[in-house]
């Protein structure tokens, strides 16, 4: 598989699931499942996917499916793979966890599985907060973002910490493959999933998945926001294959972060100081990721405060 037209037509996570219209989590999970194909066993920890993917007696999964708890994706998939190996069944074992289940509560089991180089694919579907429980901050939540546990209060407005770099943490376990994905960059997406599928050992796919109600965005805007995340440096597309890092897509110019922020209600309270802080952090990140100074204008002329367009009242699915 090299591009969109090579992707199998047969769905593995089929229609009829219960995700919100426009859900970035669903479209990412659906496309990854499709490319991994029917010879796959899926483990899903506590997350939106557990709720929208299967509700007894119905299931949108055409593959075997297991759910048990929140923090053990690395461990349960380890056990499944061990069993399949002993039974001489050569199938892909994939765990699909959210950012909370990966960055926070699942970090220990993830580290254990990565260190042991278990032969599994670990997909982190990152919507940057605990969305299934109703939008609480995780260590994947970006600086400034509103969540229900980082409210835009009178004194403190939004999340005060910067997003944890989980892909780098996993890559530091010296695993065969780590990649960051965006459905807006689909050829890159396909190539990375295909590469992960063909490799052996621990593979980690980190996907940015916009959340309609959690990010306070229009259901039609998920893919555009995914694209803007990359253009502004909020998301970087790269892979680390057998220890060798490589940027797989570099924007020609750096778009100001306000382009990204203004489409999302979760950022609408951000004042000029916070926007400048975030922009400065992005410029640092740009330099680290691309090995060059971030191009003007964003890093030369810090953005002035502007009124963000979206009113942030979109509450689809809640």
């Amino acid at each position: 598989m090299r591009s969109m037209k090579d992707v199998p037509r047969e769905d593995i996570l089929t229609h009829g699931h219960g995700a919100c219209p426009g859900c970035g989590y669903a479209v990412t999970a659906k496309n990854i499942a499709k490319m991994l194909g029917p010879n796959t066993v899926v483990y899903v920890p506590a997350s939106c996917l557990v709720v929208f993917g299967a509700l007894y007696p119905y299931s949108a999964w055409k593959t075997p499916y297991l759910f048990t708890a929140f923090e053990n994706t690395g461990a349960v998939t380890t056990g499944i793979k061990a069993a399949l190996r002993r039974r001489h069944i050569d199938a892909t074992v994939v765990g699909m966890a959210g950012d909370g289940g990966t960055f926070d509560i699942g970090l220990q089991a993830l580290s254990g599985a990565a260190e042991r180089n278990e032969d599994i694919i670990y997909v982190c579907l990152d919507n940057e907060a605990y969305m299934n429980t109703g939008i609480q901050r995780s260590s994947a939540t970006p600086f400034g973002a509103w969540t229900t546990t980082t409210p835009a209060g009178l004194e403190v407005k939004g999340n005060r910490r910067f997003k944890k770099d989980i892909a780098r943490i996993v890559a530091d376990h010296d695993v065969p493959y780590v990649a960051t994905l965006s459905v807006a960059h689909f050829t890159d997406f396909v190539r990375k999933v295909q590469k992960a599928k063909e490799m052996r050992g621990f593979r980690f796919l980190h996907c940015l998945t916009p959340c309609i109600p959690g990010w306070r965005i229009e259901p039609s805007k998920g893919v555009s926001i995914n694209r803007l995340a990359v253009e502004t440096g909020m998301w970087t597309l790269y892979e680390v294959e057998n220890g060798v890092p490589r940027v797989t897509y570099k924007p020609k110019v750096m778009a100001p972060v306000t382009e990204y922020l203004k489409l999302q209600g979760r950022f609408k309270h951000m004042g000029e100081a916070d926007v400048r802080t975030l922009q400065a952090w992005l410029c640092e990140k740009w330099r680290a990721n691309y090995g060059e100074e971030a191009p003007s204008p964003p890093c030369v002329l810090p953005p002035k405060e502007e009124v963000l367009a979206h009113d942030g009242d979109t509450l689809y699915g809640i």
């Binding site: 029917p38 010879n39 796959t40 066993v41 483990y43 557990v50 709720v51 993917g53 299967a54 509700l55 007894y56 007696p57 119905y58 299931s59 999964w61 055409k62 593959t63 075997p64 499916y65 297991l66 759910f67 048990t68 708890a69 923090e71 053990n72 690395g74 461990a75 349960v76 998939t77 380890t78 056990g79 499944i80 793979k81 061990a82 069993a83 399949l84 190996r85 002993r86 039974r87 069944i89 199938a91 220990q108 089991a109 580290s111 254990g112 260190e115 042991r116």
Partner: protein, 391 residues
């Protein structure tokens, strides 16, 4: 057959090897650690064909076990105390998904008043997790029950996980002569694992999807019936194991000098060995004392216990853990089972945090039970061997 001088932990490891466990996730914790060390040695010496998975915590150990068992292979692990507590969440996944995982628990006190010595307050509180629980008295029984546990857990009428509980240090670290059964004998007793539901892409199933209120009650009820069905599977396993090895354990519990007993004690674990000695002494003094060595906490032998105590006047329970509600947990189970029978029931808490239980301690328990049998007013619950002013 060969007799080896080994610890209780090693006996458990031999049991897991002879049972042909295929996946063994493990994490070290005293006094269980010898089990996973011994299994690792068996594997690396080529004696045992299994995967040892060194997980990074007990929570992950149980999660790996769940994945492996759901993947359709015979799965074994072991833990103790804090480790079992860390697994707590996952215990409640393994049982309802009906995964016949076998886990040895080397009993050790849990929590503050921290220690590494034996107490039953690690495994007894998880009796409501849906796991079956058997408690053993000797290293031989530890080995034999590890093998029997797979047979009981994998019985199609049961399909539930089971804990084989052995007193920490008293068994786990003490050597005894243990008869190691021939592999062929064990193979006859324990057929190849044939799971009901398996995660296999050739025949997809969903395991534990979110289950709405319309279906959850029935799922729990089936679990309850499966625990009940285990009574039969336990009795059959005991019979057949006895036929093959000559060792019979009595199933749910073992009665000792109960035929004409007027009063008795019932309890779990190695305590039974000391209690037997106390009963023998009392009998030589002409007293009609008896002993019930309880073996299973789940399924709890309520009806059977009622039957076995019909002629008693008074029964004491021995609790090696407290429930902080005036009585120990075993007492609550036993008195519930005997409710309305007219038999006086008293509780006897001892051996906490690994404190030695001597024949004298057990005789003190019998003394109270005997006085109760004579109609004397005694305390419902006695903490034995309390120091000084706390008595």
């Amino acid at each position: 057959m060969a007799v080896k001088t080994i610890t209780g932990d090693q006996a458990v490891a031999y049991g897991a090897m002879l049972a042909r466990a295929e996946v063994v996730p493990g994490f070290p914790i005293t006094p269980q650690t010898i089990i996973i060390e011994q299994i690792s040695e068996f594997i690396n010496d080529g004696l045992m064909d299994a995967d040892f998975i060194p997980a990074e915590s007990e929570h992950s150990v149980m999660s790996v076990a769940i994945g492996a068992s759901a993947g359709g292979v015979r799965t074994f692990t072991a833990t103790s105390s804090q480790g079992l507590a860390l697994m707590y969440e996952m215990l409640f996944a393994a049982a309802p998904i009906r995964l016949p995982v076998v886990m040895a628990v080397a009993n050790r006190s849990l929590g503050a008043a921290s220690g590494i010595w034996t107490e039953h307050n690690d495994s007894v509180p998880v009796r409501e997790s849906g796991w079956l629980q058997v408690y053993v008295e000797s290293n031989q029984e530890a080995l034999d029950m590890t093998i029997q546990a797979f047979r009981i857990a994998e019985d199609r009428r049961v399909m539930l996980p089971i804990m084989v509980c052995l007193d920490g240090f008293i068994l786990s670290h003490v050597v005894e002569g243990v008869d190691i059964p021939e592999q062929a004998v064990v193979d006859r007793f324990l057929p190849k694992f044939s799971p009901v539901n398996v995660l296999d892409p050739r025949d997809p199933v969903m395991m534990n999807p979110v289950t709405p209120p319309e279906f959850a009650t029935e799922m729990r009820y089936q679990q309850d019936r499966a625990v009940e069905a285990a009574r039969v599977a336990i009795a059959e396993a005991d019979e057949e194991f006895a036929a093959l090895t000559g060792r019979r354990y009595g199933g749910l519990f073992e009665s000792y000098r109960m035929d004409d007993a007027e009063y008795a004690l019932a309890g779990l674990g190695t305590w039974a060995g000391i209690a037997r000695e106390a009963v023998d002494q009392l009998r030589s003094e002409g007293k009609k004392a008896g002993l019930i060595k309880l073996r299973y906490m789940r399924p709890f032998p309520g009806q059977e216990l009622r039957q076995a105590t019909l002629n008693l006047k008074s029964l004491g329970t021995f609790d090696r853990s407290a429930a902080f509600n005036g009585y120990g947990p075993l007492f609550t189970e036993v008195r519930n089972a005997l409710y309305g029978s007219g038999i006086m029931v008293t509780d006897h808490i001892a051996g906490i945090g690994g404190r030695d239980i001597t024949v004298e301690t057990v005789r003190d328990m019998y003394d109270i039970v005997e006085r109760s049998a004579r109609g004397e007013q005694v305390r419902d619950c006695t903490w034995h061997t309390l120091r000084g002013e706390m008595q």
